[in-house]
């Protein structure tokens, strides 16, 4: 029963990734990634209780605080500041993007199974690929940041399903993300012409 619930939440996390892929408005995209992080935290709590590990619970609380609340709020503030991002990504191609995502998930599953036939890490791997796809397909920097958060979520998810990373590493991932968002926000504050555009993130 509990296994079925964890599996179902895993599929829901995958669905949120597809929702981010198909969504053309920025604000719902940020809300969806917050929901994804909270779902991940629920998995962490369940695994933590099952395996009797306190660090998973701490990690879940951190995840909800940082990815579920803090980072989405910061990003949404940015959406508000630059009116142009309130509206939408230009030119969404929902059917083709979803089909590409589906092909990517099937390919990801096949590759993962070919490489690691024993370990149950397909879902994080597919999520990781979908995060890449979000970054590639979206033109808007905020949307790309959302894609980056999806990837970090995938790493964390892999960490709790495949092998148990030490807490310090997981905390490191949080700091990574915070630094990225901070850099984005500082860039946005420095300039006034809608800084968070693609050109700013290209080297």
């Amino acid at each position: 029963m509990i296994e079925a619930i964890v599996q179902f939440i895993g599929v829901l996390i995958l669905l949120t990734a597809f929702e981010i892929l198909a969504q053309s408005y920025i604000r719902p995209m940020i809300n969806t990634v917050a929901i994804q992080s909270i779902l991940l935290a629920v998995i962490m709590v369940i695994t933590g209780i099952l395996e009797n590990r306190l660090d998973f619970i701490i990690l879940a609380v951190l995840t909800i605080a940082v990815r579920g609340i803090a980072i989405p709020e910061v990003l949404k503030k940015d959406v508000k500041k630059h009116g142009i991002w309130v509206y939408r990504e230009v030119g969404t191609r929902v059917p083709s993007l979803v089909i590409v995502g589906l092909i990517l998930s099937i390919v990801g599953y096949v590759i993962y199974r070919a490489a690691f036939s024993v370990m149950q890490g397909d879902l994080p791997f597919i999520l990781f690929l979908l995060g890449f796809l979000v970054i590639i397909a979206k033109k808007n920097a905020l949307a790309q940041m959302v894609g980056y958060i999806v990837e970090e979520n995938a790493l964390l998810y892999a960490g709790i399903t495949i092998s148990h990373m030490p807490l310090i590493l997981e905390a490191g991932i949080f700091l990574d993300l915070l630094a990225l968002v901070l850099a984005g926000v500082i860039l946005a504050a420095e300039k006034d012409y809608g800084v968070l555009e693609l050109e700013e993130l290209v080297g």
């Binding site: 029963m1 296994e3 079925a4 599996q7 179902f8 895993g10 599929v11 995958l14 669905l15 597809f18 198909a22 929902v94 059917p95 979803v98 089909i99 995502g101 589906l102 998930s105 099937i106 599953y109 397909d122 879902l123």
Partner: protein
């Protein structure tokens, strides 16, 4: 009760109660919108009125114009004989078809109505071409849903699927099954023309099925209309009895259990109609070219159900 009699009972249940369900849905929606609404029996009155009207056949109608409504109506009479509507064991004709066979009979009905109306007039050809365009995007989802069910239950037969799901409760909460149910529900909204799609009604920008009936009158119109009610009823009972809620189907042929099966079917359908009313009152109509996005999402759910089946190594024990 003889199995042939059960067959006739299934057909009669579909013919008799399908307009009632439409009336109930309209009434519930009217009450939600604080209107008094039409009587729940209004669809019956409408059909009776159409039968009494004068029959007019357009000058440029092709050979299929007259026989199309009759053929599609007969398809909807045949389908209850081969699907679990109120009785959960195969009736005499059921072994002839599986899920795909049922889908073929549905396809025959829409095929004849499409070729009858494709070149008739402006509105009918709009309806026919739209039905074909969007139908081609809806079919892959249907096929994937059948594949998903076949993976879980190792069969492509609706009766066995019903039995297997009713016996294994833990399969019902598996992600594979839940995603299949979600995908089929989206398809059900599309096929019955409910609001995110709204293919019924006379709005030119959205009409699909109604457009095909534009040139029909009298008996032929009544048969098309009644046929479309029966189509929704059959699809809804397949959704309930095979996918979403496989319990409460009559398992023996005694009069008592057949009546029990009919009553539970109608109760289940009332719950489904409440879901429909909720969806119709809370969602907005999609623009016509956005329908492909909608159908893509249902396709996504169907494929993910199959992917999740393989990821988790089958249904949970």
């Amino acid at each position: 009760m003889n199995l042939q009699v059960v067959n006739v009972v299934q057909v009669l249940v579909v013919m008799a109660f399908s307009p009632l369900m439409v009336g109930i849905l309209k009434k519930i929606e009217a009450r939600i919108e604080s209107r008094k609404g039409i009587s729940v029996f209004q669809p019956y009155y409408d059909i009776a009125k159409f039968f009494r009207k004068e029959l007019i056949i357009p000058k440029n109608a092709n050979a299929f114009f007259v026989i199309a409504p009759i053929v599609s109506f007969s398809c909807y009479i045949i389908l209850p004989m081969v699907l679990p509507i109120v009785y959960g064991n195969p009736c005499p004709y059921a072994p002839m078809v599986d899920f795909l066979g049922g889908a073929f009979i549905f396809a025959l009905a829409s095929f004849v109505s499409t070729i009858a109306t494709a070149d008739l007039s402006y509105y009918t050809s709009i309806g026919a071409s739209r039905a074909v365009t969007f139908g081609s995007f809806a079919e892959p989802t249907l096929i994937m849903v059948f594949f998903g069910v076949a993976l879980i239950t190792k069969t492509n037969n609706p009766f066995i699927t019903n039995h297997v799901l009713a016996k294994n409760v833990h399969w019902i909460i598996s992600p594979t099954h839940l995603l299949i149910v979600a995908a089929f529900f989206m398809l059900l909204l599309f096929d019955t023309g409910k609001i995110p799609v709204e293919s019924e009604g006379l709005m030119e920008f959205g009409m699909i099925d109604e457009g095909k009936m534009m040139e029909y009158s009298s008996t032929l119109y009544a048969l098309s209309k009644w046929g479309s009610y029966m189509k929704s009823f059959i699809l809804m009972s397949v959704f309930l009895n095979v996918f979403a809620f496989p319990w409460g189907v009559a398992m023996d042929t005694s009069v008592k259990s057949i009546i029990f099966g009919t009553v539970t079917l109608l109760l289940k359908m009332l719950c489904l109609i409440l879901c429909f009313a909720f969806v119709e009152e809370t969602f907005a109509k999609l623009r016509l070219f956005k329908l492909i996005d909608y159908l893509t999402i249902s396709f996504l759910l169907a494929i993910l159900s199959i992917v999740s089946f393989f990821i988790f190594g089958g249904v949970p024990a």
